[in-house]
């Protein structure tokens, strides 16, 4: 797009965002893992412009470094979330609830001076695990505080129970102190669990990959796509980003700083998505002025999740044009 159109787009979005005045969603295009026991890498991660930074206690940290990771993460949280040029999500990935580490992980970050925005919980396989997490969370933070919850789906059993996991999470979040925001497709553990060998087009995981995004959307959650392991192959990364985005994924896991900008760019909305979102927001604005009843847009009844989706797209569009 040329700069005049981009400017006009930008102005439209700014004014519309003011009118609707809501801010439910934040984009999570690149979900970047940083080893929790490496202060240097953590510091660097704040310079990379990733939508979501996950300080890792899990796979990225050796067993004999778990305690070290907790202390390092806690000391970062004590200093407060660094202010960057734009908002981002700062999370902590704890160890799986099947391990003996997760409670200490949770304690370390929930008793820091400042809370992280988000807790990322790997290897959730049943709704019972969500209950366990919810109970533990309640020990540390009050009901006036709300943490985001990012759920990892990475085994056959988890896929069998996926709808139940989401239902229970949604239900518990109504009275609890967390809010589910994402499902993550933990493809490496998933492939190991099933015995899958992936090829470049990842056709072997198509069933699971598309089921995850469908269930995520049914529960108004973002869907984060699998890791692209060959971190030096940025062209391959871009292709897989686009493939995932076409399926409805809203972001992708990132294991190397060099992958961040490719992912952030690839998950910007397309021109047709931007047009749809702006049209919807504008139509809503006019509708509000006229005090009409049911709100429809292009023949569809518009509900709150759809409004949120439009606003999210509009926000991303602003990133594209700024």
């Amino acid at each position: 797009m040329n700069s005049i159109i981009r400017q006009r787009l930008f102005q439209q979005i700014v004014s519309l965002a003011k009118i609707s005045g809501r801010n439910y969603y934040i984009p999570r295009r690149a979900l970047l893992y940083v080893p929790g026991d490496d202060p240097k890498k953590i510091s660097k991660s704040f310079t990379l412009d990733a939508d979501c930074i996950a300080l890792d206690c899990e796979d990225g940290v050796a067993i004999n470094r778990k305690e070290n990771a907790r202390e390092t993460i806690r000391s970062f949280l004590d200093k407060g979330k660094p202010t960057l040029s734009r908002d981002y999500d700062l999370g902590v990935r704890i160890n799986s609830l099947e391990t003996p580490y997760w409670q200490e992980d949770l304690k370390a970050c929930l008793t820091a001076k400042f809370l992280p925005d988000t807790i990322l919980v790997p290897k959730i396989e049943t709704d019972e695990t969500v209950r366990l997490f919810s109970d533990e969370l309640g020990k540390y933070i009050g009901t006036n505080q709300i943490l985001n919850l990012i759920i990892y789906i990475e085994s056959a059993k988890a896929f069998i129970n996926l709808v139940d996991i989401c239902k229970t999470t949604e239900s518990l979040s109504k009275t609890g102190n967390f809010r589910p925001v994402c499902l993550v497709f933990g493809s490496d553990d998933f492939c190991a669990n099933i015995g899958i060998t992936r090829t470049e087009d990842a056709n072997e995981v198509l069933y699971a990959r598309q089921k995850l995004v469908l269930v995520a959307k049914a529960f108004h959650l973002q869907a984060i796509d699998m890791v692209y392991i060959k971190y030096k192959d940025l062209e391959g990364l871009k292709m897989q980003c686009q493939q995932g985005m076409r399926m409805g994924y809203t972001g992708k896991q990132v294991i190397h700083p060099g992958q961040v900008s490719v992912v952030q760019d690839a998950f910007l909305p397309s021109p047709s998505q931007i047009e749809w979102a702006l049209g919807l927001l504008k139509s809503f604005e006019e509708h509000q002025k006229q005090g009409k009843g049911a709100f429809t847009y292009k023949g569809n009844m518009i509900d709150m999740p759809t409004m949120k989706q439009a606003e999210n797209t509009a926000k991303l569009a602003r990133l594209k044009t700024s």
Copy 2:
């Protein structure tokens, strides 16, 4: 096939159809939408030889034309279903039960002098919606009258609840005044809901598209494939018809008169399907004569739905040869 074989095939089917004497299924290869507020297009639709004509109150009609569509459809129904050279399905697509329009839509067509064959209900997401529809239907027509019901599945939530929707529909139909006959894959709304961008091979919707046809068949329903939007590209349409038919779809939605004949041709049964159906019907005939017990064909126990499927194939084969 040459004309002698075609003639023999035709004679076989005619005689077999007489013997079995059942007529549960009618083919629904092309499901053609006609805007309910356009008398000219409605009149034209009866000349197009589509298996199923849907007079549309929903997406094809602007909001300020809804009342007009109801009146137009009603006046057509009052005149009685036009007699064409062969049988076809005449239906009305009402607005979604989430809108404020559907009850008026239903009233308009159910209080006409002659009922339509079929009601098409878009955007069904839960079995609760089916109950609501069933209750409303009961207000207008008696239990001695049976309308066909065509169900649209077009959101993530609908796919989550798909088996429940079909179970409830099957259960309600036993005492109610409707009979479920089809599931329709409402791909455009589905893609918008999930955030999917389709490519030409539609690999992005493969999970949903194949789940729908599997569930449809588990409940002995026909499965109607997605719309092919590029209505001028008849070669592309044909390819997508064949792709859907290979997956088990029995028909396809049609948004333009020019698409009808391609779709009707593409969904004719293949020679091997015809051979299977004729063999089964013939075997059944012999079996009946001999008064034997359990009926098997090529090693499979044959139940009523399979008989129906064979008869449907035989009917379509007759179209192919006539």
Copy 3:
């Protein structure tokens, strides 16, 4: 791999197998069907080195030969399972529980002097069928005897009920005299049931094929892939074996002796799988020596099914190197 590495690998596995001392899984790469009424073919099957031989009462036997098949199978069982150069699985495929034949089939093989290892039950569609089978089994064999159960999934309805079937089977097996070991994708009946026409890449059955392997793994079962019908095309067979193995399948149905060796070779584990399994078993050995608590390997908590999987891979690796 060169012979020195192969020798070292072999020694490692032998010593590790001694330490862990468990033997839950046996490989089932080629599942070979032999018509139960053909003594010559049965005798030949024992020379073919297939992991699993299924003496067939079902599709491979004409209706007027069912009684003959039962007698032939019984007389083979009376002589005792032939000892071959390595262990294998000897099973009997009975007729579907929807037919009037299955009880006689079961009686014939369960009252023989020696039991088969495994009963293969086709066309299971609901968990009720598993109960029926379990009850019938209980009439013939005591609770101190355990037969393997191989379950065929081959219709839309079966896929709808797949998780329920597996849950009930798992539950019944805890007190019953059978142990579920495999799910088989009965693709030919499945395609006929849905109305699917398969192409060479089998993309039309992708949803079902990947759902089956996922559910199998969630219940710690092996997954046996579809039949490759063109039995003279060994290159095509090999391609489809590799495709299935990449998806997580552990074996394949074989309808012709000429297919056995291709399938047995194709389903050997890959070098990376062997490396993973050996590493895990070795790590477990060291862990046991040191008397540590929770056992993790490469960041994952290792549970019993994963140990079994590693041992199975190690066994197959031994076949590869011997």
